[in-house]
């Protein structure tokens, strides 16, 4: 038998017990089986393996299995703060974050920082340097606003939305 045919035979034999072969492949295998005693033997062995695997069935544990598992369980850890108090605390925190963001944005929109640059802040020995950096004060506030927005979103998601959806799911079930 050619190397290619041996590989094809292995493929066909691997599918043979499930009967998932195509018609042509099954016919080819039947021909081989009639001509070659070795192939016939392998097919018989595969039939035996298939039948033995089908017959093996499930195994059953001892009758007290469930009681033993239940006895080994400890109560699920409960959070120390009651859920309602946790949510209110988070709401207060979120309100604080939003308030800070709001105040900063109000300052910015009222042109409070127009003309204010960091260069005007007295820095020791600054006059000895040949360089200076002028940063507009309101540019420094943009990252603070961004950090507040991210913090606010994380708080909203973790502390309010997630517990709310979990609570709704529990009660719908």
């Amino acid at each position: 038998m050619k190397k290619k045919d041996i590989a094809a035979l292995e493929d066909a034999l691997s599918r043979y017990p499930d009967g998932s072969q195509e018609k042509a492949e099954r016919a080819w295998l039947e021909d081989l089986q009639a001509q070659d005693a070795g192939v016939q033997q392998r097919m018989e062995d595969l039939d035996t393996v298939h039948q033995a695997l089908q017959a093996q069935g499930i195994a059953r544990p001892s009758p007290h299995f469930t009681q033993r598992v239940m006895a080994a369980l400890a109560p699920l850890p409960q959070t120390s703060v009651p859920p309602a108090r946790r949510v209110w605390r988070s709401v207060a925190l979120l309100t604080g974050v939003l308030a800070v963001t709001g105040i900063i944005m109000t300052w910015l929109s009222s042109d409070m920082f127009t003309g204010v640059t960091v260069q005007q802040v007295a820095v020791p020995y600054a006059d000895q340097w040949n360089w200076s950096v002028a940063v507009k004060g309101k540019w420094l506030l943009y990252p603070i606003i961004a950090i507040n927005m991210v913090l606010g979103w994380a708080l909203l998601d973790r502390a309010i939305l997630k517990p709310l959806f979990q609570h709704r799911r529990l009660h719908q079930a």
Binding site: Q56, I58, V69, M70, L76, A173
Partner: protein, 185 residues
């Protein structure tokens, strides 16, 4: 993606504090959990301990179960991994195969066919844990290839190929065992 599974409502009750509901899930899944542990460990006492341990682990981590699969698939995966850990921990002890496994009740008949089944079961002990478990789950006809793949943590196509190859290997082992038996007569 969340899937619909009737067990998820039970999980909500357990997470809500009703621990006794977990007994319903233990009753429901203990047989397959034990079968999986037994296929990996091949020792009834150790398999029972590993299966119980897996149920306890699953209970402790219920809150972290993301519900993107059936609860049973997640649980059986824990059982498979727990049994593997037991096997690695106590490897030397498993060379002494449990007598009840080596000769299953169904294979004790004097009929030649049953003798051959006994040899197939003996040959199965020479397969690795993943192949042995995959073959068993596949033949129980309760699990899809995708579920078996999720339990064993291998792609479904790999599982299919491994089942096919394991069967061919079993057939070869069976022939070798039968020839050895013939020589001793």
């Amino acid at each position: 993606m969340m899937i619909t599974d009737p067990d998820h409502a039970l999980l909500d009750s357990i997470l809500g504090g009703d621990q006794q509901v977990y007994a319903v899930l233990v009753d429901k899944y203990q047989v397959y959990a034990y079968t999986i542990a037994l296929k990996v460990l091949q020792n009834t006492a150790e398999a029972e301990e590993a299966a119980q341990d897996a149920f306890v682990k699953a209970y402790r981590h219920l809150a972290s179960f993301n519900r993107q699969s059936k609860f049973s698939t997640w649980l059986y995966r824990i059982v498979f991994n727990t049994a593997l850990a037991y096997r690695r921990k106590n490897r030397p002890a498993y060379y002494a195969v449990d007598a009840r496994l080596a000769v299953p009740a169904a294979a004790e008949s004097a009929l030649e066919k049953m003798d051959k089944h006994k040899y197939v079961m003996l040959a199965m002990e020479r397969l690795n844990e993943a192949d042995r478990t995959a073959l068993t789950l596949f033949y129980l006809q309760e699990f899809s290839l995708e579920e078996i793949a999720a339990i064993i943590d291998l792609p479904a196509n790999t599982i299919k190929v491994r089942i096919h190859r394991a069967r061919l290997r079993l057939a070869e082992e069976l022939r070798t065992l039968l020839q050895q038996e013939a020589l001793t007569l």
